[in-house]
């Protein structure tokens, strides 16, 4: 098994030195006969929010699901190309996928709460990795719920069933649970699509705070949301990267006409 090391490759992009934590080169993904991702090449900079935008069915989710290899279980999936995380190829057959996923965490579109208490949900991932005493457990629960802006709301009822929380709170609990495993990268697959505007804003604010310590990859089809939080932007259409770059630059003067059309009218003529 290959253990990951912090090699931190530095790539020079447009005259600036940027720490890229993930580099994807020529990624191709098929599910049976369907060519889902076609020659994807992109970089994910460290401690930034990278938003992946694109129309429904363009391959956004398939792309981030390739990064932590959660796609592996899909029947008939074939991945080719290269995905480097901290300098190691994660598509290598010999890697410890479970270990990889502790370093590249993921939050899904709909909050998935285990039928356990709030406290047990936060500890669910970490307690399978190492033994913790009662004090350590409580400390982790408090720390992660505070980071996820949920502590004030649930501190008095940590032993209540997590299912009693609102959908927005459940999603923040899922983020706290992911943070407890101490990943370097957090992949979020449209995490606010089922939330009300207030909960959405709470998660967006949390992401902006989290980028100091984590690399965030955020899939959204909401262009306004991308505008609010993205440092970097990747536009995907029909399984191909159409354009990528610094978000503010792309929003003001995208080079590609398809990108301009999508950012303006959310219309894609790929």
């Amino acid at each position: 098994m290959i253990e990951y090391q912090a090699l931190k490759p530095k790539l020079s992009v447009v005259g600036k030195t940027i720490d890229n934590i993930i580099n994807i080169e020529g990624l191709q993904v098929w599910i049976k006969e369907n060519h889902i991702l076609n020659d994807i090449t992109l970089n994910i900079p460290k401690n930034k929010i990278t938003c992946i935008i694109g129309p429904s069915g363009s391959g956004k989710s398939s792309l981030i699901r390739s990064i932590n290899r959660i796609n592996d279980d899909i029947d008939g999936i074939i991945s080719q190309g290269n995905i480097n995380f901290n300098g190691n190829s994660i598509l290598d057959k010999n890697i410890d996928v479970a270990s990889l996923r502790t370093q590249i965490g993921m939050v899904f579109q709909k909050p998935c709460i285990f039928p356990k208490s709030i406290k047990e949900n936060v500890l669910f991932g970490i307690q399978h990795l190492k033994k913790l005493n009662k004090l350590e457990k409580l400390q982790i629960v408090e720390d992660k719920l505070k980071v996820a802006s949920l502590w004030k709301e649930v501190s008095h009822r940590l032993n209540d069933k997590a299912i009693s929380l609102s959908i927005g709170q459940q999603q923040r609990l899922c983020i706290a649970r992911t943070l407890a495993v101490k990943p370097e990268v957090i992949l979020l697959d449209e995490p606010t699509s089922s939330l009300d505007p207030l909960s959405t804003r709470a998660i967006e604010e949390m992401m902006v705070k989290l980028k100091e310590s984590y690399t965030i990859v955020f899939v959204t089809h909401n262009i306004q949301q991308a505008k609010r939080i993205a440092d970097n932007l990747i536009f995907i259409c029909d399984g191909k990267v159409i354009e990528q770059g610094v978000a503010s630059e792309l929003f003001s003067c995208a080079k590609n006409s398809q990108t301009r059309a999508y950012l303006k009218d959310e219309y894609c003529a790929c």
Binding site: D73, D75, G105, M106, C112, F114, V181
Partner: protein, 282 residues
């Protein structure tokens, strides 16, 4: 015929079907209750039988039946769980999935007497295990395996994929996902299937009468190689003495106890199923 009349006719015909089905069940249960209840008392439940069952009670028949189904459940459950987990979590080949399903459904359709003959040839004659309760338990386990396996498979397979993916995304291995997430949530489905299987097994006569039971004169076994007396075979033996009113009365009493045990297992299965569905909906 206009559409509204058609609709009404269809609705009423389903009601008639339900009434016929319920009436048969209530009639059967009523007859057994009517004839069996006068013969049931504390002595009948706690005493051993004598005079070839025409007098005394059915304590060893109850014990023998419960012993057989308890061990058959213990043998069946791990195999059923393993089969269900393999089909649900590891088997990606759809053709192989269909072949295994066909085999399991076929196993469910085999007449119970064939299981008895199979047990007699393989375990009693070829392997020399003799007529013993453990052979009966093995055969009953084989009989209820499809029910338990399919029930467990459906319980595990109906757990939303997002639970699997959320657990994997936290760094759990596949085995940890199965043991910490899927089995706890699917276990009630397995137990439901097991109780339905046990409810069927406890009433079986044909598969065990050649291989596991003695019709009279046995108590609870002290080793694996001894036969037992069971409620169905006891009822069969008493029914053959139909001219003796005492034997007939005891046959009705034993039938009522057997039906009560079947109902008990079925209601338990229903209770667990309802509770399981409530958890799934949360």
């Amino acid at each position: 015929m206009n559409r509204q009349l058609q609709n009404k006719l269809f609705t009423y015909s389903t009601w008639v079907a339900v009434i016929i089905c319920s009436a048969i069940l209530f009639f059967l249960f009523g007859v057994i209750l009517w004839n069996g209840l006068p013969g049931i008392n504390i002595n009948f439940i706690t005493q051993e039988s004598s005079d070839f069952g025409a007098s005394g009670g059915i304590i060893y028949q109850i014990g023998g039946s419960l012993l057989l189904v308890l061990f058959s459940a213990m043998i069946c459950l791990p195999i059923a769980l393993g089969t269900a987990i393999y089909k649900s979590e590891y088997l990606k080949n759809r053709k192989l999935h269909k072949i295994i399903n066909t085999l399991i459904y076929s196993l469910n359709g085999i007449p119970s007497v064939i299981f008895g003959i199979f047990g007699l040839i393989l375990f009693v004659n070829i392997l020399g295990m003799g007529i013993s309760w453990i052979v009966g338990s093995i055969i009953l386990a084989m009989m209820i395996l499809p029910t338990v396996s399919l029930s467990t498979y459906h319980a595990i397979n109906s757990i939303p994929t997002v639970y699997r993916e959320s657990s994997l995304a936290l760094g759990l291995t596949k085995w940890q996902v199965i043991s910490k997430v899927l089995l706890p949530q699917g276990f009630s489905g397995a137990i439901t299937g097991l109780l339905i299987g046990v409810a069927r097994a406890i009433g079986e006569t044909a598969p065990i009468m050649f291989i596991a039971t003695a019709f009279s004169g046995v108590k609870l076994p002290s080793s694996f190689s001894e036969p037992v007396s069971t409620l169905p075979t006891h009822i069969l033996a008493l029914a053959q003495q139909a001219t003796n009113p005492d034997a007939l009365q005891n046959a009705w009493g034993a039938s009522l106890v057997l039906v009560m045990l079947v109902v008990l297992f079925s209601i338990s299965a229903l209770f667990i199923r309802l509770r399981y569905q409530t958890i799934s909906r949360r």
